[in-house]
Amino acid sequence: MIIRVQNLVKRYGDLLALDHFGLEINEGEIFGLLGPNGSGKTTAINCMLSLLKYDKGTIEIFGKPMTPDAYDTKRNIGVVMQNVAVFNELTVLENIRYFCGLYVSDKTERSELVEQAIEFVGLQDFRKFLPKKLSGGLLRRLNIACGIAHKPKLIFLDEPTVAVDPQSRNNILEGIQRLNREGATIVYTSHYMEEVEQICSRISIIDKGKTLATGTKDELKSMIKTGETMSVEIFALTDEDIEAVQGLPYVTKVTYDNNRLSVHCSGGKHNLIRLLDKLKERDISFGRVFSEPPTLNDVFLEITGKELRD
């Protein structure tokens, strides 16, 4: 167990930011903390990093209680903050060298690690650039390089893709997976469910400072009633046709709007085949057909009654 958080309570005055929050993260995982803005993700990370005081609970990292002076523990942790945290007066190379130097005192080793970090984030052509000369995406990459240059065993990435263009976002996500393959355990927070779904091996969904559910994405999706959603392009459909589709097994909801039939299911197998058979049986001609599995947003929606991005 790399991280164990139990019964964490954190209050900001009257606001309960973390409500008996808990999680356990195993070595080698990419663990996602998924929740809307203000759900307590960053607060949880800051408590784990011993930056924030908390009212109750215990935090252990690498099997030891986490405290501000746990320097041996901190030496093995890499942090990529939500806000870019670099020196504006230092170049890309100097920034990475500085942050790496906070962990690695040997100059030769440090130089090698810095070069690897630069290559890792693809900033080879920007070594001598000052941060203000970098685009948002490149700046985020610098922020990541500063956090991971010392090759930590555990890396906290707090919304590293906020305000990043799609190309840089993909680079960042691929990089995170590569870090994981190289042996690092990753704690990744985001309110972008697609990202979390794409890279995380286990996910905790949190809201209002509480852990609502934890598991792999399949485990989370299997926890809810919502199954796949099928959409079929149909140019003409009678009320009787809609009623017939409604009568199929596992169908929970049917809508027909703008020549598109949407059928929501609550699980079951071969729903699409059954639907297409029914349409054929009723001699209904159709165009394109789509089938979407449930998303983490569906999971969040079913648990909390609101959209993840609300």
């Binding site: 020196f87 007066e89 906070l102």
Partner: protein, 380 residues
């Protein structure tokens, strides 16, 4: 590790162009402006040229030995008052009309002055003649009542203008009101070190900046970060003070007396006080960064104003009416330390100023450390 932090911090601060401008270039620019402004005042008094005048060459003049001697005495020496030409009436009138001379003196039964314009030169000529005539009248009155006075050296004693008070600078420097402005400017420069102190606090506190948060999660002891950052700021700001002192002393010719080491010590202590002040403000005031800089700038200027930066008499007004303020205002203490070094032989007042500055620095630093040393925050 300490050296690593120190050198990186020094590099960062050195490249902070905006703060370098305010802490180094701005004082130098202001000093240059002061110099230009004061320079025109000084040159008006120092570049005095003798007043050209003519005396009509006639028998009465040739026979008036005392007047001839008086003219000779004021038109010779290092700083002659008059430049006298003995001319015929026609020549003198011609030169007067051309403006080549300021006045024409005619000796007859009395002594008269003819001028065509009014101005400083004409006033000087009139003052000289008035004084001469008054002295002549006094001598005649003394001789009438005591004829033996001439034998006793009356005439030579009249010519001898003696001052019964001597202005002596034990430090070797000439007392000069203008210096007070430059000393107040140096005091302001010292207080501007507060910008470096403020930046240090901001960059180290997790609840003040993302950079502070990022540094707080690294395996570096906070005291190491604080001390290395403050030392880097002190190195840079003290160097700025030295550059400013050199500029004032060697380029602008501002007189600091002959106690060079103590002048540098004053700059050093002033720098420490300035940085401590900024660190304290940064630790105490929980506003945004721009607001903090505005507060710091305002307070520094107010303190410098009270130390006589904009109006030199303010220093004396404060010392007279609110003396306590002079003892707790770092700008006034720094300015007075420079002044004491220049003016007083005794170093008691200087050491009192330096002592109070040290106490203020220690108090501010201790209070800041109490606020900054925490490693966990209620909110970020």
């Amino acid at each position: 590790m300490f050296l690593f932090h120190y050198t990186n911090r020094l590099k960062c601060l050195l490249r902070d162009k905006e703060t370098v401008f305010w802490t180094l270039l701005f004082p130098i620019l202001l000093a240059s402006l002061f110099n230009i402004a004061f320079g025109s005042i000084t040159s008006a008094t120092e570049t005095f040229s003798p007043v050209s005048t003519a005396v009509i060459d006639n028998r009465a003049y040739q026979n008036n030995i005392p007047f001839k001697e008086a003219l000779k005495s004021v038109s010779s020496g290092d700083q002659p008052l008059l430049k006298v030409s003995v001319l015929s009436r026609e020549e003198a009138e011609q030169k007067l009309k051309k403006g080549e001379i300021s006045g024409v003196i005619t000796v007859s039964d009395s002594i008269s002055l003819r001028v065509l314009n009014t101005g400083i030169n004409q006033s000087l000529l009139k003052s000289f003649l008035d004084e001469y005539l008054q002295t002549e009248k006094t001598v005649n009155a003394i001789i009438k009542s005591n004829p033996s006075a001439i034998k006793d050296g009356l005439l030579s004693s009249l010519a001898d203008r003696r001052s019964y008070t001597d202005e002596i600078s034990f430090s070797g420097a000439e007392p000069d009101t203008m210096l007070a402005y430059f000393y107040a400017l140096l005091a302001m420069t010292c207080l501007y070190g507060s910008f470096w102190g403020l930046r240090n606090v901001t960059d180290i506190q997790a609840d003040l900046s993302p950079l502070g948060a990022r540094r707080s999660v690294s395996p570096t002891h906070k005291l190491t970060s604080i001390v290395s950052d403050q030392l880097a700021a002190l190195t840079l700001h003290f160097t700025e003070i030295l550059i400013t002192l050199c500029y004032l002393g060697f380029v602008l010719g501002v007189d600091f007396g002959e106690r060079g080491v103590l002048v540098v010590l004053t700059g050093f202590v002033g720098s420490v006080t300035g940085i401590s002040f900024g660190t304290f403000i940064g630790s105490v005031i929980r506003k945004n960064e721009k607001m903090k800089y505005a507060i710091l700038n305002g307070v520094s200027l107010a303190m410098s104003f009270l130390a006589g930066l904009m109006f030199v008499d303010m220093k004396y007004i404060i010392a007279k009416n609110v003396p306590l303020l002079s003892y707790i205002n770092p700008a006034a203490l720094v300015a007075d330390a420079f002044y004491s070094l220049n003016i007083y032989e005794s170093l008691t007042r200087f050491y009192l100023n330096i002592g109070i500055l040290c106490v203020i620095s220690v108090l501010l630093s201790a209070a800041s450390y109490m606020l900054v040393r925490r490693e966990k925050y209620a909110s970020i």
